[in-house]
Subunit: 368 residues, 2 copies
């Protein structure tokens, strides 16, 4: 499988071109082979935000290599079964996926760190931990067990806390509620008495409409409105405490990666950063007007009550402890991540938070 | 001057290599000339954060082009007089600068938008407005009058509000105070009764020590500590309301830019994004432990009192109105920027702010 993958990444036409050029100008020929890759996104095509980020990435790689390194972006259904990206990348069936690492927590909860933990780092802290803290170094060691190397390539920011068919006024109201949610958030909701459900994005609308589930979380105003959730549930809660700064990852097969010349590796690094910034910017641009429209059309915004947040926070700490007791690598990365959280929330409460607070007060006073 | 610049960017050796290769393999030769550029940073070399971002950028461009596009990074004094980057880029004396656009507000206050306005957008909003709002499109039209094209390539986040030799407990205490500050913040401080001073970064320490100024702002804990301000002033104020999300820009001479093949232009775009993410991540990683150390060594942290913030906010609105009355382009961009601020602070107060608030409460309760 790995040998096949190695040959495929170079491609027949590409290898030929490389060989003939090598006779004339070795320095350039060695470094600019024709390479064709297949990328599978973990998200439906209609989400121009999160699916679109894979195109931002692939377009940049293509442009900086003058079309020599061509990464074709596929929707999940085109090549793979739903949520099979990890296996497909690991086995070299595809070269890479652009997806949420925490989709794979059932294999190992350590996959959660590539996305973010409930009550974890916000978007900026996530980038900071990944790029300049220990994040990427620690994750590289973990992902390599799955024959993968990974680069941050997008973020949604703090997501919303989901759509509810009825109002939730206390922890009691959460008991027995069937809530569509994924990742470690599901385990937390279970601990506080709710009944987490897993459904693919495309199945949520129908389930909410029929009432086979009571609530569902997905992303935020723009994506959620595209999937029509506001038409089948009235109450829109915040914050999405289980997704405070959701990172997306470019997860790449290690043999495909190793076969690349250094310039193409560098192209992947910088194009991933471009996708990272652009995707966040797109959400921040599209979410505000969509939220305004949703509210105008009848959606009722509600913050989670403090007792719910407190109970979920306590449950999250218990779950991290339980997993850590059984999983040394999870504990190792958790310690780094949580130390970062402690430091970051000491720093952010000064300038960032007080500036935001002051301007939000002006906003509420109608002075912005 | 422009003709000279065009020839220099290709370089004699590069042009020769291009010509000889063209006979053998036109497709590659046309797109991979040897190009040598000179970049001047607006910041002192010892600031590995903000000066370092220019290296992150140049290294990435070099790597993705296999060393064919080589951008040499210079400290300001090596080539230019202090703060002469804009003229130097405009005239093609250098190919590009990595600097703060608002250093040039004396030429036109519209330069402030490339950095950020007092009481303006935070870091994430700044990126959003630039990349996916109208920001970069509007700025491109403006900068082209100065023979420049520009790309975001770094951010400091919300800066601190400066070092004071004595405690400031009310708006009254600001009267007559000599404060080192740059950009539009200086005009605001003047309006509320302080006496703004301009000093280059390297001159601040001595002036604070001698008491020829009463206060000085620069960046945040890490950079400020490197320059030793904590040794000559005890009170460290926040927030830096005039610098809530300071963007750095790669400002590029238009003839140098136009002479580039498309692949090199794409390399500049993605490498700038990498510098943007990396520089912010570096500040967010270095500032918390530095702040902790400063406080342990005796620095006293203080928030600006509300009456000071209110007065400065009102003064900022008045100044924007005054400038807008005389400068149509400033008004055009201001309207876009402020509309963005209004929308963004409606959206951010939901999930982002309530998640941050909850975690800061946990932090203060010793539970993180």
């Amino acid at each position: 499988m790995q040998r096949r993958s190695f040959i495929r990444t170079l491609g027949v036409a590409g290898a030929g071109a490389t060989a003939s050029l090598a006779l004339q100008s070795p320095a350039i020929a060695q470094t600019r082979p024709k390479v064709n890759w297949r990328l599978v996104s973990g998200f439906p095509k209609q989400l121009d935000t999160i699916f679109g980020a894979a195109h931002v990435f692939a377009d940049s790689v293509r442009e900086v290599t003058d079309g020599q390194f061509d990464i074709k972006v596929h929707a999940p259904g085109e090549i793979l079964e739903s949520l099979g990206e990890l296996d497909a990348v690991q086995n070299g069936l595809i070269d890479m996926a652009h997806t949420a690492s925490y989709y794979f927590v059932d294999k190992d909860p350590t996959f959660a760190f590539g996305t973010g933990l409930p009550f974890g780092l916000n978007q900026r802290m996530t980038n900071a931990w990944l790029y300049e803290g220990d994040g990427m170094r620690l994750l590289e060691a973990f992902y390599s067990d799955y024959n993968i190397i990974s680069f941050p390539a997008g973020n949604t920011g703090a997501q919303m806390g989901g759509w509810f068919r009825k109002e939730i006024n206390s922890l009691e109201d959460m008991q027995g509620l069937k809530i569509r949610i994924s990742g470690l958030g599901a385990q937390i909701l279970k601990k506080i008495g709710a009944v987490p459900q897993f459904l693919a994005g495309g199945d949520i609308y129908e389930a909410l409409k029929e009432g086979t589930i009571d609530a569902a979380e997905f992303v935020g105003p723009y994506d959620d409105a595209r999937l029509g959730f506001n038409k089948v549930a009235n109450y829109y809660y915040y914050p999405g405490w289980w997704e405070g700064g959701v990172a997306l990852m470019n997860m790449i097969n290690l043999q495909s990666w190793d076969a690349l010349p250094n310039a193409y590796k560098a192209a992947i690094r910088s194009a991933s950063a471009l996708a990272n910034v652009t995707m966040m910017a797109r959400y921040d641009t599209l979410n505000p007007p969509t939220l305004r429209k949703l509210v105008a059309e009848g959606t009722i915004l509600r913050p989670y009550t403090h007792d719910i947040l407190e109970a979920c926070f306590v449950a999250s700490e218990a779950i991290y402890e339980e997993i850590s007791a059984k999983n040394a690598r999870f504990k190792l990365i958790l310690d780094s991540y949580m130390e970062y959280r402690r430091e970051a929330y000491m720093w952010f409460q000064r300038s960032e938070y007080s500036q935001d607070t002051f301007l939000m007060m002006q906003r509420r006073g109608g002075r912005l």
